[in-house]
Symmetry: C2
């Protein structure tokens, strides 16, 4: 079968389910595990593509829901697809729009598709799996996602079961509607909430479709770190070993390491860029709030061990200044650093897997990363989400 993407599994960690591989796409090959920065509206916020490339970014993600609304798929197609439109010559992945649509208030789900109104303007829309795929065909990303029902957490077993069935029927419709299988890889999405039987059924049914890649969905919907890990553990064993696996919308550094350990290869999340714009920077010894007075005169780079374009050239004092006077460049420099940090994190994880030392790497990372920000025995270490929220609301 002439597939748009080809995954090569290079190493499997003997003691965990962590894997290292390579994913070849029509716009280049990338190493896995890999983090994909989010360019929701066909732009990674505040980051020029040249700078994005300088972070080492491989695949960039864009959101179909947003692009459907503005500028519309016809404009993107006319401008050479997303690659031409946003000036990114590397691989791109688009989601199906499902995640956004299902979180809209007042949306109704029918067998045919989803009825909703746009947040801005309120225009009523009926979006079908076929529409999502047609739109993604026009957007032209290397990897496109099936239109699934992403249910919230918690959901009862009965509803989750009916939803999995619909997601599977929709996946078949997506595959049938897909017009560009030769240069766009359609990935299926495993749903099933936290129910072992549903996750297994969904994963097995999708695997039987022999798609070029698979995602674990239904996470990052408020379930928390522990249940996210559980959703992965319940889905992963039933996914083909020789296909790439993408954990959608996850997450914090700890989430990503735990998911790598559980056999996931691809990740996306707005956290590094969103936190950056708020002045929170990731370092190997924990997070750093650049607004703090202590950085006002600090000549050191954000992270002395970092090789990103920001740390190579700018001091904490300069970033502190830019945030103090609300200069937009501050957000750019912070975003570049955080994206690089996430890429370096998965890069080091990959090196560790190849060296057969993933667990050691993970422990060592936690030791340094949490050393500063979490006290021994702090329960929040298990649910880092709450920690970040607490910090944000200060």
């Amino acid at each position: 079968m002439n597939e748009a993407v080809r995954f090569t599994l290079e190493h499997e960690d003997p003691r965990t389910r962590a894997r290292a591989g390579r994913l070849a796409t029509p716009h280049g090959e990338v190493p896995t595990p890999l983090f994909m920065p989010v360019g929701t509206q066909a732009a990674v916020k505040t980051v020029h593509p040249d700078l994005l490339a300088a972070t080492g970014a491989g695949i960039v993600l864009a959101n179909t829901y947003h692009l459907l609304l503005q500028p519309g798929p016809a404009v993107v197609k006319r401008c050479g697809g997303l690659h031409g439109f946003m000036g990114w010559s590397g691989p791109i992945l688009t989601d199906s729009g499902g995640f956004q649509v299902f979180s809209l208030p007042g949306r109704t789900i029918e067998e045919g598709g989803v009825r909703f109104s746009y947040e801005k303007g309120g225009e009523p829309v009926f979006l079908t799996p076929e529409d999502s795929i047609r739109t993604q065909n026009d957007l032209g990303a290397d990897i496109i996602m099936a239109f699934d029902e992403c249910i919230p957490y918690p959901a009862d077993h009965g509803y989750a079961a009916r939803s999995v069935d619909r997601t599977l029927r929709w996946a078949e419709r997506c595959a049938a509607a897909h017009a560009r299988p030769a240069d766009q890889a359609l990935f299926g999405i495993v749903q099933g909430s936290v129910y072992p039987d549903l996750r297994e059924r969904c994963a097995r049914a999708l695997a039987a479709m022999d798609l070029p890649g698979y995602a674990v969905g239904g996470v990052s919907v408020g379930e928390g770190h522990e249940l996210m890990k559980r959703a992965v553990e319940l889905s992963e064993p039933f996914l083909p070993r020789d296909k790439v696996r993408y954990l959608m919308g996850v997450g914090k550094p700890e989430d990503i390491l735990e998911a790598i350990e559980r056999g996931m290869d691809l990740f996306d999340c707005i956290i590094p860029t969103k936190y950056a714009r708020g002045g929170t920077l990731f370092t190997w010894t924990g997070k750093l709030r650049i607004h703090k007075k202590q950085y006002r005169k600090d000549r050191y780079p954000v992270d002395t061990g970092c090789r990103c374009p920001t740390c190579a050239r700018f001091s904490r004092a300069y970033l502190h200044h830019l945030f103090a006077v609300d200069e937009p460049l501050g957000k750019t420099l912070a975003s570049v650093h955080n994206i690089h940090f996430y890429l370096a994190l998965v890069g080091r994880a990959r090196d560790a897997i190849r060296a057969g030392k993933f667990s050691e790497f993970k422990e060592s990372f936690y030791r340094d990363y949490r050393g500063r920000s979490i006290r021994p025995g702090d329960a929040s270490a298990a649910t880092p989400g709450s920690r970040w929220k607490k910090q944000k609301s200060k």
Copy 2:
């Protein structure tokens, strides 16, 4: 005399006073005429230094008043001066703070200096010429400016005369206070409002000080295009031919060409970057408002004749989209384009001067540039300021 900057006059236009030259600074040599992008708070708004370099920018300007307030000269000095602090390895020029201070409400002028309160916080400050120079010595720019009194327009002759005397006394104090003449060039500033005798007296007195460069100030204070030209014409004949001449805070493309024709070499203005952030792009055939619906599907670059990093890669449709969804990258791409346009404008002027065809170039530029936006006989062609304002308030 071992001066920080060295100006080499290469060509003088036989029919106008236009000149082409080279200015050697401790951070590299730049061609003149030259436009200097403004990085008020030690950053050109929304533009990473790598992108700024890609526009072809030579000298960058920063504002002493803003940096005095935040982060303060001590922090900048500690971080390697402005070059190290803002990551710009090319030449930098700082103004004296005078322009900002004199426009503050409630400031009082004494022989010693100016008493004012900061806009934010209201902290009372007494700023002397010595303070300004000490601050600029700490900031460490290649070119620093004398602390002058920049009076508004109109001003009566009596006041303007007393002000010129004070500006000259302050210039002497600045020169005496200057601690780094070997690697920072102190430029004097010609004031005198629109009065021939005062402009001449001020220019002659400053010329007698044998400073490494001179500026024409007291413009961009509401006097309009015609009086700006007059201020230059009244000052320029008394400035030494072998020193570089800087027209402060000017201006629109037409202003700059007219000032080049009248013997000015350096220019700075927030217009290209400020207009860019508002979605107004400069092209060789006039200005372009990227918000307009007509650009929604437009696959062409902003200016088909432009070689800037933005036009090389992005369509009008993409920029329109970024502005439509308020993506910060839109401002970045537009700023890069506009800065490049200004640099290309002075670059073409320079080429024309060297070829002995400056007047032909100017006429040809106006023909193309005004062809689209101004009807024949439109009086506003003589005062482009009003034209831009009219367009902005639409």
